[in-house]
């Protein structure tokens, strides 16, 4: 068990609108998200003295965001990276505070992932020269995330008999959750047939197996448990964290099989070991859904079911609201909008507070109906422990366990 378990908290969360055309700079969006998170925590600009963000040359960095809000920093770090960053930065924020470098850290991600630098790799990204390690795959028409991951998904189907229909249930579940979320880009519930009947993008991925490129900014505020007790919201305690854990040969992970194994295989003992719990103790998961398959692969690798049985697990009803362990209750990247992982941590923070922003009339006061029919509630009753499974690529992942 970690000596830092329960000593740090997430005290504030915030996000902009999820859109496909923000007409705003990443600076403007970041400022809005950070400001909302500070207000959510009941803090002031003077209370925040640390800032971290992640990006890939597609965003505005902390030195240009903090001053807009009058924040003077004792620590900041701009990190290159995508989906595996969220949980990793939470852990780094704890470390920075523990080291005495600062007291309270705002972590943000701001991107015009649809209207400016498209996450899928089209537009400006596709025009860049191909060099270095990219020469091993990009000249063969393998450039986007879906194209990068499809070999892993296909091999999983071969190794374990996983079917398109099974993983389609991830989209079905997340669409059900998004229908309870006023912020979600796609609120329409879909069926398995809708998913497997949608057009192919890169086999074995259909259009509806893929997430939504989105414009947005998101923010999470981390501070010590001691300070958290004076914040506005019920503290959410960090039990364990694993950051950017990789498979061998991160440069070319296909060299080191089985290729249907993902990084959670290596991360699970770190994060569960710190938290002192196991998968059965987790009430809500946030398994990164860049694609339907990524949610399934991580859930099985972290031990929520046996390796190879992820298809059966995600199609059993367990991951839906009303099921034993709902996943991505805001709709995730497949339906709510793509945030490089931040929104899934934000959602779990709200679940643990009992303050999910659904359509329940008393949601703001924590009054929920637990009626999961369309356009109603998405609060999980008495959610005590959540776990986020962050993904960047098959060989790279992060994880975060929180409790109320």
């Amino acid at each position: 068990m970690s000596h830092l378990r329960d000593k740090y908290c997430i005290v504030g969360v915030g996000e902009t609108e999820y859109s496909r055309g923000s007409n705003r700079s990443t600076r403007a969006m970041a400022v809005e998200a950070v400001r909302k998170a500070i207000l959510d925590a009941g803090l002031t600009a003077a209370d925040v003295d640390g800032m971290m963000d992640y990006q890939s040359g597609d965003s505005t960095l902390a030195p240009h965001v903090a001053p807009d809000l009058g924040i003077r920093l004792n620590f900041y770090m701009d990190v290159v990276g995508g989906g595996s960053s969220t949980e990793a930065l939470v852990g780094l924020a704890m470390g920075a505070i523990e080291a005495g470098m600062c007291r309270t850290v705002a972590i943000y991600r701001s991107m015009n992932g649809y209207s400016e630098f498209r996450i899928g790799g089209t537009g400006a990204r596709a025009a860049q020269p191909v060099r270095g390690l990219d020469l091993a795959q990009v000249p063969f028409g393998m450039r986007s995330a879906g194209q990068n991951f499809a070999l892993t998904f296909m091999r999983h189907m071969y190794d374990y008999g996983t079917t398109s229909e099974q993983v389609a249930h991830v989209k079905v579940a997340h669409s059900k959750h998004a229908s309870q979320n006023p912020k979600a880009l796609l609120k329409e519930r879909v069926t398995v047939q809708d998913v497997v009947g949608s057009r192919w993008i890169v086999k074995p991925l259909h259009l509806l197996d893929c997430c939504l490129e989105t414009d947005n900014a998101t923010c999470i505020i981390v501070t010590s448990a001691e300070r958290a007790r004076n914040c506005r919201q019920r503290p959410v305690y960090i039990m364990g964290v694993a950051g950017r854990v990789s498979k061998p040969r991160l440069d070319f992970h296909w060299a080191h099989g089985p290729i249907s194994r993902v990084a959670g295989y290596y991360a699970k003992d770190i994060v569960f070991g710190q938290a002192g719990i196991g998968p059965d103790d987790v009430h809500v998961t946030g398994s990164y859904d860049a694609f339907t398959f990524t949610t399934m692969l991580q859930l099985e690798e972290y031990g929520f079911c046996k390796k190879g049985e992820g298809g059966a697990y995600v199609s059993s009803g367990v991951i839906e609201l009303g099921g034993r362990r709902p996943n991505n209750t805001a709709g995730g990247h497949l339906c709510e909008g793509y945030t490089h992982g931040m929104s899934m941590v934000i959602e779990n923070v709200r679940q643990l507070r009992g303050r999910v922003d659904d359509y329940c009339p008393g949601a703001a006061e924590g009054q929920h109906t637990y009626d999961y029919s369309v356009g109603r509630c998405r609060q999980v009753k008495d959610a005590e422990i959540t776990m986020n499974l962050g993904w960047a690529m098959p060989p790279l992942g992060s994880a975060l366990i929180m409790r109320r």
């Binding site: 020269p129 060099r131 091993a136 063969f140």
Partner: protein
């Protein structure tokens, strides 16, 4: 510095200081598939890198491989991201496990390489003929005097182990 190679709207850049790739693609232009092999432990590696990932030794030599292998996984790109590939859709991308060094140094490791599965005229192979377990052999797609891409064709040999394709 060698001229950048233009291919399907992409600029493929191999600077002079990237000797690993420059020599690899130059060998491919001579129609030989070469792996970097460690002079200390003897294991080959791909992509060509500067140190041995198993023993960290810096000594290396080029070692030719047969270019024969088995499809370990594949995908069919229906929606191309790169504009120059749109006219090729649907095209297969294959992960080929080479015959040399299979299951070494640990059971799940192998020399695996990404390429397109192509017909003899280098156009994309038909989807119905792509399968995990199918045997393949290397061919070379010449793009410049100093540069060729290793690609793979169906080898005409009987498959190894279970043959499987999506929806098949």
């Amino acid at each position: 510095m060698p001229q950048p190679v233009s291919y399907r709207g992409m600029t493929l850049l191999v600077p002079d200081n990237d000797s690993e790739w420059a020599e690899y693609f130059a060998h491919a232009r001579a129609h030989t598939l070469m792996m970097r092999a460690c002079t200390a432990c003897g294991l080959m590696r791909y992509p060509p890198t500067h140190a041995c990932p198993w023993c960290m030794d810096l000594g290396w030599r080029w070692q030719e491989v047969s270019g024969r292998g088995t499809i370990h996984s594949y995908e069919i790109v229906a929606h191309a991201i790169q504009p120059g590939f749109k006219e090729l859709t649907p095209y297969p991308v294959v992960l080929v496990e080479l015959d040399e060094q299979r299951g070494r140094p640990t059971p799940d490791e192998a020399l695996r390489i990404i390429a397109n599965l192509v017909k003899d005229d280098l156009s994309p192979e038909a989807e119905a003929r792509v399968a995990i377990g199918a045997r393949v052999k290397v061919v070379f797609q010449d793009l410049a005097d100093h540069f060729a891409l290793p690609q793979f064709t169906l080898g005409g040999e009987p498959p190894v182990g279970r043959v499987w394709r999506l929806g098949g």
